[in-house]
Assembly symmetry: C2
């Protein structure tokens, strides 16, 4: 089925708004067994007419976002009705909902707002519980394709697409949607993952593979007949093993908080070069307070001594970025908090502060666990400051996950 997306909005073309619709809709369609064949952005106003006319002949369904609101350049509804030759009629139900919405805010809708209650004859209203403008579905007719009009804001468009557009699209699917297997992987570079699995995946008939680099992790998606995706699942599990941290969509911090909760474990953090990012990521997860006691951000050597009891002699003999300091930080953090394990990081984020012996991008991590000897590791992530903080925090979260699951550190 040939499906295209048209996104309208001048703000998309003048550099004010990032267009996330193509990614989100393309992804959802693909997982349902469809393929988005094209996407076009046009300014508000009359340009939508030209693009619709151009797109009609080659498509079976068009998804369109934006241009349904109350301002004078929101004219997608009117233009589409004219192109399909369908008269606009006031929909009593939509109008009542609009009046109720405004009444609850002590206001009356004006004439432009009430345009949102106009529905072309024979079209289906797509409910919008998160905004005032409903969506519209024009069934295919007179040689024209199916057309879906949806509002522009993602928080209105996404539920409408999921709950009202997809169910209609699914009717026209000629075969079952492909099976889908997803993994999240961390601790191995993309090229290393590809090197390990691609030769085997290439042998599997009917398998499609999608990689997506996330914030410090790599997502793998496999589509195809069940036998193919199951074979891909087996290969991934065997070849990537504990580098896989989820079979699904979750972030590493979500998996970590979940594992800690299930095992009744509490963690704490002692950060220097990551500057609070590890704690920040753990506390992004709802319910983190059950598994996270707290942490310190000890940027100065003075605070490393004062809060974590790192001996001045250690700092002097080995420097702040060293295995010895990382160990003292992790052990001090464990002692200070009522937690089961503590992770420490100390490194050189750059751009300044690097030396020949310890270049920018060097970090030492320490993992202290109650009743076990402390382990330290040196890692290297040269690159930008942002990227360094992200990847070091990712490694720290992964060490905590591995410890909570009883796995070896890499």
């Amino acid at each position: 089925m040939h499906i295209e997306l048209i996104t309208t909005g001048t703000e998309l073309l003048l550099g004010n708004t990032l267009n996330t619709h193509a990614l989100w809709i393309g992804r959802r369609l693909f997982e349902e067994g469809f393929r988005l064949q094209g996407q076009t952005s046009v300014p508000d106003g009359d340009a939508i007419r030209r693009v619709l006319e151009e797109t009609f002949p080659r498509t079976e369904a068009i998804l369109c976002t934006g241009g349904l609101g109350p301002t004078c350049d929101d004219i997608t509804r009117e233009i589409a009705a004219r192109l399909y030759g369908l008269p606009l009629q006031v929909n009593a139900e939509v109008e009542a909902a609009l009046r109720a919405y405004f009444a609850s805010r002590g206001r009356e809708p004006d004439a432009d707002t009430l345009r949102q209650a106009l529905v072309p004859e024979g079209c289906q209203v797509l409910p919008n519980p998160n905004g005032t403008a409903p969506g519209l579905y024009f069934p295919a007719q007179k040689g024209l394709p199916h057309l879906f009009l949806m509002p522009g804001p993602p928080r209105e468009m996404r539920p409408m697409f999921q709950d009202h557009v997809l169910p209609i699209l699914r009717q026209w699917r000629t075969e079952a949607p492909p099976h889908c297997v997803k993994f999240k992987c961390t601790g191995l570079g993309e090229s290393e993952v590809v090197r390990r699995i691609e030769p085997m995946l290439k042998e599997i008939e009917g398998l499609e593979v999608g990689y997506r680099l996330g914030d410090g992790d790599l997502e793998l998606r496999f589509f195809g007949p069940e036998s193919a995706t199951e074979e891909a699942r087996r290969i991934c599990r065997e070849t990537l093993g504990t580098y896989l941290f989820d079979e699904g969509d979750r972030l590493l911090e979500e998996v970590l908080v979940d594992v800690l909760r299930k095992n009744g474990l509490i963690v704490s953090t002692a950060e220097s070069c990551t500057g609070g990012m590890i704690a920040d990521r753990i506390t992004d997860v709802p319910g983190a307070s059950e598994v996270f006691a707290g942490g310190v951000v000890v940027y100065s050597n003075e605070l490393k001594q004062k809060l974590l009891g790192v001996p001045a002699a250690t700092l002097e003999a080995h420097g702040a970025v060293s295995s010895e300091t990382a160990q003292a930080m992790a052990e001090g953090c464990l002692a200070m908090s009522a937690s089961d394990m503590a992770i420490s990081v100390t490194g050189i984020a750059g751009p300044g502060g690097g030396t020949e012996e310890k270049p920018v991008g060097t970090a030492w991590l320490g993992l202290a666990v109650k009743g076990k000897p402390t382990v330290t590791r040196r890692i290297m992530y040269p690159g930008t400051r942002d990227r360094f903080k992200l990847l070091v925090s990712q490694t720290a979260l992964d060490y905590l996950r591995r410890e909570a699951l009883g796995l070896e550190l890499p």
Copy 2:
């Protein structure tokens, strides 16, 4: 001048890659006095032919990204050459650069890689210092528009656009680019900013206004003749005053670190509900170590007492989310670190933990400054946990900025 953008890449349509080109290019063009009139995404392969043919008649210049690499579906160069009727020739300079690039990695380029050295007759090579595929400029001819082919990866495309495409486009500008004035604003909602300035801005002839909601801040951009942008600048300064934190593009944390450095001030942080995000944002800025001593993330009450000396009686009498606890946290943080001021936050990020008296979204902030009485404020940001953390950290950074500049807290 009618300019459109074509982005090629199957990954843009199947949900693997977010397309950031339209935002970035649209923004740069607008600042230079051009307007992007449309953007289209197509899969790799032959679809680019159809879109080019459709776009030719209505455009004066086409910007195209992707499809220049070595794989078999990278065929934009070949298709464009055929549409313009220009034979492809090996460019000796590009080939030598390709061979040198591969030699430095101990490899030899294969035949597909060497396709990147093919240049249509009469076209101009656009250098790509960040990758192997150079860009190409097809001058307008035979009734066809100007065409620019650029590589897909942002880190290759952006410098090429800036250094080689824009200088060519600027030749065709019929008038001087509009003046541009930019502000960053924080602490006021978008609708409140609009309410305060729009009535006055509407009176200014020739002024164009762009708003963009950033991560906790609002960017205002004004374009037009100098007299108009200067009038807008005056109105903004008068009406928004100290809510404006930058005349430019900087993030609040960048402005804060800059102001602290200039005033020789050192700060520290005591976070509960923001979970380390304030420290994380400060330490995103290169050179933060000069102005940031460190901080604590005291999620548990035990750590609030142990690290910051918050009295158990205070926690018991007023609760962890209270003016009294925020004050004790800030003062404890100031005492613990050798800093000039300390900010504390304690609140309820949700989704759980809210009560009728202290609903989800409530936070108390404390600002302790050497030799001054401590100030506390209650703020309310109901909404998602992510958004709450972001907006509370934004307010905390803004309080530090205000204090460093000797301004009142709002």
